[in-house]
């Protein structure tokens, strides 16, 4: 059920300093694997990205991870992934925003850091796999086949969405020991094991944005990357300029708050961001109905096993803790087309669509276009 049955392995446990990764490492050790704890230093100067205790790369988190490794009884090291993280996650995040898209950096981190840079290095150093505390299940395939990625048993904690970018080869090097356990049980287990992080609060938001103020952080960091920050706010129906804003990156499709429009819409109903055009800085707003999306076009597919051949009647998820939508998914080369059986609201280019067949993750793709019913 969790990828831990296949004999004794040499594994690297990626330990953030949180309770989940600590229990995952402990379970891997209990399962008989030869476990080495590794804390990923994602910033050369932790304070430059984040202060306080909410992230995963503060000095306090590194110490928590070290203490957890002591209690579990495994060696512990810090690996410096700061250059790779900066280039592949932080820079990518900025590029995507500058282009008017809404990226999810956690997916990027799993795709390029935890199950790429870390896994590659681990394999080169003689390890077989990377253990993480993600809530998702890996079901072993037939001998010689890659394991299948499934949603976690605890639906509320399910993190299969942020792992939907992993390829078969990456999954073959992953161990996810927490997929069949509810979060509160993980905390109880941590306490029973004597792990000091048993009651540490969950991390939230984006780990490299210290205070959670994404808009402020982007304003500081985007610099020349965004050709212009300010622009008009346009009514989708009338084409009328309703006001101006000082940074299109402060908006995300589907957003209602913070538009600061001087006057109400003609129909008196709330308006939502429908579209962001980064070059001109134009933000288009309209009714809730106009946000409704029934068709998605996505590219850059990544398959968790075999690429989807025949059209799939399955489900899709469009954001990390978003709802599941029934959908028909068809693939044509690198283009993925998704027809939603129940419409979604506020879909932004740059978001990942993760495709499921039942609880199994089939793969993912990056949304480039969303359209409502014609």
């Amino acid at each position: 059920m969790n990828g831990l049955e296949s004999g004794r392995l040499r594994v690297v446990a990626a330990m953030s300093g949180g309770v989940d990764s600590a229990v995952a490492a402990a379970r891997a050790k209990d399962a008989g694997h030869d476990v080495t704890g590794v804390h990923l230093a994602l910033s050369r100067n932790p304070r430059s990205y984040r202060s306080g205790a909410r992230g995963c790369c503060t000095i306090e988190d590194a110490n928590d991870a070290r203490r957890a490794a002591d209690v579990i009884g495994i060696p512990f090291y810090v690996w410096d992934l700061s250059d790779r993280f900066h280039e592949d996650v932080v820079e990518d995040f900025l590029d995507e925003y500058a282009a008017g898209r809404t990226p999810n950096p956690c997916l990027r981190c799993n795709e390029r850091i935890k199950f790429a840079a870390v896994l590659d290095r681990a394999r080169a150093l003689g390890f077989d796999a990377v253990v993480t505390g993600h809530y998702a299940r890996l079901e072993p395939g037939a001998p010689g086949e890659v394991p299948a990625l499934h949603r976690a048993t605890d639906q509320a904690k399910d993190q299969s969405y942020v792992l939907g970018v992993l390829t078969a080869d990456q999954l073959a090097g992953a161990l996810l020991p927490l997929g069949d356990t509810p979060k509160d049980e993980v905390r109880r287990e941590a306490a029973a094991r004597g792990l000091t992080v048993a009651h540490k609060p969950d991390s939230h938001d984006i780990c490299f944005i210290a205070d959670g103020d994404t808009g402020g952080w982007l304003a500081e960091k985007l610099g020349d990357r965004a050709p212009r920050h300010d622009g008009p706010i346009i009514d989708a129906e009338t084409g009328e300029e309703l006001g101006r804003h000082d940074g299109s990156y402060r908006f995300t499709v589907g957003q209602r708050r913070g538009l600061r429009l001087g006057r109400p819409a003609a129909d008196g109903r709330p308006r939502f961001v429908l579209d962001i055009e980064p070059v001109s800085g134009t933000v288009t707003v309209g009714s809730r109905e106009a946000l409704s999306v029934t068709t998605l076009v996505a590219d850059r597919p990544r398959w968790c096993g075999a690429a989807l051949g025949e059209p799939l009647e399955g489900t899709v998820q469009l954001r990390a803790h978003g709802a599941e939508h029934r959908a028909r998914v068809t693939v044509d080369g690198d283009t993925v087309r998704v027809e939603l059986r129940n419409p979604a609201s506020g879909v932004a280019p740059g978001q990942a669509v993760v495709i499921y067949d039942g609880s199994r993750v089939v793969g993912s793709a990056t949304i480039i276009r969303a359209a409502g019913a014609d």
Binding site: R66, R84, L125
Partner: protein
């Protein structure tokens, strides 16, 4: 199988004489500042130890200011003397510090620059890590009246390079400028005669020479009164406060005595073991780079600092650790993140080379078997680390 411990420059095992001295005193009660019999007994232990330390080092007992270790001694010298010298003459704001100092010197100097208006000048070194004396001469002579302090270590903790302490002191004193010498890594391995050095302040620590953690000294010329870092009972010449630790001080004295008495023999043994180690590594890894001076007279006898092109030092360290061999990447850690060594960078190495380095440091418990064990596992370890090298560096083609 016991671990092979090749990190004596980080800390070295206590010698039995120090353990005996310490344990014999752990059950004795008495504050060395108290006026009664038990207090006097504790004070006697401290003062006899201080005399022993002074005799071994070639200084006067009153010059020995006991501290919690090398870091405190360095901080007291840098900050305390900077504050005092500037109070005497407000023009004295310049700090001349070698670029390869330990962080216990560099960081207080940087702090003074950031917070106290000090002008910090880092003095360059050559490709072996040796201070360029002419740079010091030029810097001092430019305006001697504005220099608060010169600080140069006796021998470098990472690559082992000896610094020309005599010449540094002569140059600075010719212009009336005091000199602090961080001798933490040198005492016990080099001949240390403080009277001959003539430095104004010298830092040392017990645990690098076979004594306990948490005790050290700043040997401080009589006329020098640094501003204290720790205010309180004024136990140490009113320059340093805090209840004295008789068991630790006695063990420090015992260890220092042993270290200095056996220095010649140990240095010879360690030089031979180091040569075996370096020759052996060269045989296994022909492109290894040996950092620091070639000539044994120009470096510490017990440190071998090696760069393994194409490898990350922390990969090598982890793999060796898994084989029971303990060594160091030789560089300081900030939040556990290995930084490229400022020493290697100052010596003109590029960042990749600096990050590919390991420091093996030998000590009084090191044997031929330890070197053999290292050599028996190093080949495959370097091969592995090389395969993994660069995989976490930026700039790799995106998948």
């Amino acid at each position: 199988m016991d671990a092979v411990y090749l990190d004596h420059a980080a800390t070295t095992p206590m010698v039995p004489e120090a353990v005996d001295a310490m344990t014999a005193l752990l059950t004795a009660t008495g504050n060395a500042s108290s006026l009664h019999g038990p207090g006097r007994a504790a004070r006697r232990v401290v003062e006899e130890s201080r005399e022993r330390i002074a005799a071994v080092l070639g200084c006067s007992p009153v010059e020995v200011v006991l501290t919690s270790g090398g870091t405190e001694a360095d901080n007291l010298a840098l900050k305390g003397l900077f504050w005092r010298r500037r109070a005497e003459d407000p023009r004295r704001t310049r700090l001349l510090v070698s670029a390869v100092e330990h962080h216990a010197v560099l960081d207080p100097a940087l702090w003074l620059a950031e917070h106290e208006g000090a002008e910090l000048e880092l003095l360059p070194v050559d490709t072996d890590g040796r201070l360029l004396l002419e740079a010091l001469e030029v810097a001092v002579a430019r305006d001697p009246g504005s220099v608060a302090l010169v600080s140069v270590m006796a021998a470098n903790n990472e690559v082992g390079t000896r610094q020309p302490v005599h010449e540094v002191v002569a140059t600075a004193h010719a212009h009336g400028v005091p000199v602090h010498v961080d001798a933490v890594q040198a005492v016990g391995h080099l001949e240390v005669d403080l009277a001959e050095w003539g430095a104004d302040a010298v830092a040392l620590t017990a645990h690098k020479l076979g004594g306990p953690y948490g005790v050290g000294a700043l040997v401080l010329g009589r006329g020098l009164d640094p501003e204290p870092l720790l205010h309180g009972g004024g136990q140490e010449r009113d320059v340093r406060s805090g209840t004295l630790d008789p068991p630790a001080v006695a063990a420090f004295a015992a260890a220092l005595d042993v270290a200095v008495r056996r220095r010649d023999r140990l240095a010879g043994d360690l030089a031979r073991l180091r040569e075996r180690l370096v020759d052996g590594v060269r045989g296994l890894v022909p492109d290894v780079i040996v950092n620091g001076p070639v000539d044994a007279a120009d470096r510490l006898p017990h440190i071998a600092h090696l760069s393994f092109p194409g490898c990350e030092g922390d990969s090598l360290l982890m793999l060796l650790d898994a084989h029971g061999v303990a060594c160091s990447t030789g560089s300081a850690c900030s939040a556990g993140v290995p930084q490229a060594s400022h020493v290697l960078l100052a010596m003109g190495r590029d960042e990749a080379t600096a990050r590919s380095s390991l420091r093996f440091s030998l000590g009084h418990t090191t044997t031929d078997a330890d070197v053999d064990r290292l050599l028996s596992v190093l080949g495959p370890v370097v091969e592995r680390a090389r395969a993994a090298g660069g995989l976490t560096a930026a700039g790799r083609a995106r998948a």
